[in-house]
């Protein structure tokens, strides 16, 4: 059935194909496009922030609008750009790396995407409906509970819906990696990117429910008059801080671990060596994931939890630097003595090592609780987390896109444009954020709308703003590169980098069943093993046979649309109770879809052996 749809070429069929697809490779495209667009929106917000701060006493934007920009920049970048782009890469790569034909729950995979998208849309609707969220991406109570208008309601409902999508995505990847590995693909033979995807998914599973609860409490306080964070009713706003950071700190590792995985794969491929210290890398990844849950209160050193709590959390936080250091050294030793190719993907990986190390170092400085009373809520913290998030996560995403673009689309991104992107972005990044360390140490608080003249903050802010424009240029060149490549670049083979792992053993882009015959994995870097033994491809684990594939479905889209509608009902019922009808309508749609899904059998379909043989002859 899906092949029939694919053969019809019309635009309507194309859209319908993507609305209903359950193919992890197409869902990766959806995540890439949506996450990429939100990345541009978040970048635009950042530019407006930096224009406002380009000189003292500026009034380029109003104070209220500045708060909205700042809040939406952070929220968009974390939840709507970085997370979905990571899911894009995980969807595109993980099933191929473990030799699977699809994920464990193709239907839920699609549902996860649509929930994220509709949540992101709700969040951004605030711009057009009387004001965006303005209480910071951390939405601390009671600022967030008393913020007037509906801005913060959009934050609450938007994140609730997209968070549900993320949770579903996390469970899907957990089960995929545990249950769907090809024969011989033991845990200790999994490529490091797959390992990090596994640990990240675990973190998602155990971290996101805390945010879910926090958002529910905030929602009840704002929309239904409960008093969780309302001191006059006996409430306690510190509860929000705990719930937010119990989610929030694991979240930063959710973001960075897949990037670590990308760099591990990229560095090993382009050094032509197996990853140095593979076992230690796996160990460090899981250790980071584990420790990530024990350090949340380092964001609350200044809240007043007391010296005992602060000391414990300070030491736990510093401990994370140990496995992180292990990783840095293993990457360096992977390069050591390797036959190194330097191309765009590799440049991002090489640029990452020193940049991230700086971010890790300032992290350990911040972890010293006594010193953090000085650093907290200054630009020093802003510099720290941009060094780890941009220098780590964003560099990782760029590396991943350059590395796996040929696998996803069959074409290599233009190398010249790729290098221009890297050098402008890399320079701009350090210009923007390095100087912010010093602005912070000089006492410039974060999140302020303006700064005063004559306090030696002018030059630093000017430099920082110039850097931001360089980063924007780099990002634009990347977009140009994508367009140029899809129009001009020639098709490449399935294995343009002389790769080591399973994804490079199949055509680019892969057929929708990925592997015609399930591969037999005989060690770490399975494709490399076969190459060393003089074979061209992977040894199959089974004879050619019918392939079972899942059916496409429109239900995930409608289900998410239902929640989108209900979200508006929840937000506006405080103004007028008749909006409760929207809640009923929306929830009705969603629950109706769930019921349909439950009672209608969906057995999937088969691709027949004869058709596979025909396709093989054509290739």
């Amino acid at each position: 059935m899906s092949t029939a749809v694919a053969q019809k070429k019309g635009f309507g069929a194309f859209i319908w194909d993507y609305l209903t697809t359950v193919d992890h490779k197409k869902i990766a495209h959806l995540y890439l496009v949506a996450g990429g667009l939100f990345f541009l929106v978040g970048g635009l917000e950042a530019l407006l922030i930096r224009i406002q701060l380009i000189k003292p006493d500026n009034d380029f934007v109003s104070a209220g609008f500045y708060n909205e920009l700042l809040t939406m920049h952070g929220t968009t970048m974390i939840f709507l750009a970085a997370m979905p782009l990571i899911f894009a890469i995980m969807n595109a790569v993980v099933p191929l790396q473990i030799g699977a034909r699809d994920v464990a729950f193709p239907f839920l995979n699609s549902l996860g995407f649509w929930l994220f998208l509709f949540g992101g849309l709700i969040l951004n609707c605030g711009w057009f409906l009387g004001g965006a969220p303005d209480a910071g991406w951390t939405a601390y109570a009671p600022l967030s509970t008393v913020s007037p208008g509906h801005g913060v309601d959009f934050y609450v409902l938007g994140l609730q819906i997209s968070g549900a999508g993320t949770l579903i995505g996390g469970i899907n990847f957990l089960v995929t990696i545990i249950n769907m590995r090809a024969p011989g693909m033991t845990y200790m033979r999994m490529p490091l990117f797959t390992w990090t995807a596994l640990v990240t998914s675990t973190l998602i599973l155990f971290a996101f429910p805390a945010l879910t609860v926090g958002l529910f409490l905030l929602m009840f306080d704002r929309l239904f008059g409960s008093g969780f964070f309302n001191a006059s009713m006996g409430g306690n706003s510190v509860i929000w801080e705990h719930l937010f950071w119990i989610f929030g700190h694991p979240e930063v590792y959710i973001l960075i671990l897949p990037a670590f995985g990308v760099f591990s794969d990229v560095l090993s491929t382009f050094s032509k060596k197996r990853l140095f210290g593979y076992t230690a890398m796996v160990f460090a990844t899981t250790l980071i994931g584990f420790l990530g849950f024990m350090v949340w209160a380092h964001h609350m050193f200044a809240t007043g939890l007391g010296p005992a709590a602060n000391s414990i959390f300070a030491i736990a936080t510093m401990a994370i630097a140990v496995p992180t250091g292990i990783k840095i050294f293993n990457w360096l030793f992977t390069l050591w003595g390797g036959t190194i190719t330097i191309n765009s993907a590799m440049l991002w990986a090489l640029g990452f090592i020193p940049s991230f190390t700086i971010g890790g170092t300032t992290g350990v400085m911040l972890a010293a609780a006594a010193a953090d009373y000085q650093y907290h809520d200054t630009y020093f913290v802003v510099a720290h987390f941009h060094y780890v998030i941009v220098g780590g996560v964003v560099f990782g995403l760029f590396a991943a896109m350059h590395y796996w673009w040929p696998k996803m689309f069959g074409k290599v991104l233009n190398e010249t444009l790729g290098q221009i992107t890297f050098w402008t972005f890399f320079t701009g990044f350090h210009l923007t954020f390095f100087i912010q360390h010093f602005l912070g140490l000089m006492g410039m608080p974060r999140r302020y709308w303006t700064f005063l003249p004559g306090q030696h903050l002018e030059t630093g802010n000017l430099v920082s703003s110039i850097g931001a424009f360089l980063m924007a240029i780099g990002a634009i060149v990347f977009v140009i590169n994508v367009i140029y490549t899809s129009v001009k670049a020639p098709k490449v083979s399935g294995d343009p980098w002389d790769g080591r792992t399973l994804e490079w053993s199949i055509p680019s882009p892969p057929p929708h069943y990925n592997f015609k015959q399930t591969p037999l994995v005989r060690g770490l870097d399975p494709l490399w093993i076969e190459k060393m033994e003089g074979r061209k491809g992977i040894t199959p684990a089974e004879p050619l046979d019918d392939i079972h594939m899942p059916n496409p479905s429109i239900l995930p889209f409608i289900m998410s649309l239902g929640l989108f509608i209900a979200g508006f009902g929840f937000i506006y019922q405080v103004d007028n109770l008749s909006y409760l009808w929207l809640v009923i309508l929306g929830m009705g749609i969603t629950l109706g879809c769930m019921l349909t899904r439950s009672v209608k059998d969906d057995l999937g379909h088969h691709i027949h052996k004869e058709d596979l043989e025909k396709e093989g002859a054509e290739q």
Binding site: N172, L174, N179, A210, V213, F216, S226, G227, L243, L603
Partner: protein
């Protein structure tokens, strides 16, 4: 997946895990319950932090009586047991008995829900104790209400499965569905044991 593979002559020992889809559902649902555990843990933490913040309104000692809650606990614990019987019959491939025990499970669950609604009604109209009374009120209704919402969802789910499969009986496609619904039911039961202890017992003692 053909009809034959889903309807074998003899049912395997663990019909819920006999197919890859079944295995995935089984594992995925366990993970989901892991996430649910964090969800309820967060709610319990919030409740513990706020349980004395009564804002001069009624507190736990004045409100809670153990008689009704004891009945509710018995209803829900028994329903967990009956769902175990249902799964036992599923593994023996006796569909009729499975449906029967699931039906009893649903009735017990409905009984529990009825008691809970009566309890809430009594607090709200008898005692004037609501979500908006105090931070304690907010935490109480949110924690217990989330559990009640889970019970409601679980009942609708089990009923839907029973109705849908009433005519065609058990096969390897729906066995995992029944199985994870019963897992969900056990989970709800375990959460209730904690609510009984933390909210009610610790509230009156």
């Amino acid at each position: 997946m053909s009809d034959q593979t889903l309807n074998p002559e003899t049912m395997p020992e663990q019909p819920e895990r006999a197919t890859l889809e079944g295995k995935n559902k089984f594992l995925g649902f366990w993970f989901f319950l892991g996430g649910e555990t964090v969800l309820f843990a967060s709610l319990f933490g919030t409740y513990l932090a706020l349980r004395n913040s009564t804002n001069d309104g009624p507190g736990a000692e004045e409100l809670f009586g153990l008689e009704l809650v004891f009945v509710m606990t018995m209803l829900l614990l028994t329903s967990s047991l009956t769902s175990v019987y249902a799964m036992y019959h599923m593994k023996n491939n006796s569909f009729g008995k499975m449906q029967l025990w699931l039906g009893i499970t649903v009735l017990l669950g409905l009984g529990f829900l009825g008691c809970e609604l009566y309890e809430f009604y009594h607090y709200i109209h008898g005692e004037g104790f609501t979500l908006r009374s105090s931070a304690f009120g907010s935490a109480f209704y949110t924690l217990v209400g989330f559990h009640g919402g889970h019970v409601t969802f679980g009942l609708l789910w089990i009923i839907a499965l029973m109705v849908r499969n009433a005519k065609r009986g058990l096969n390897l496609y729906n066995a995992p569905k029944f199985y994870i619904a019963s897992l969900y039911w056990h989970f709800i039961d375990v959460v209730w044991v904690f609510i009984f202890t933390v909210v009610y017992l610790m509230g009156v003692i």
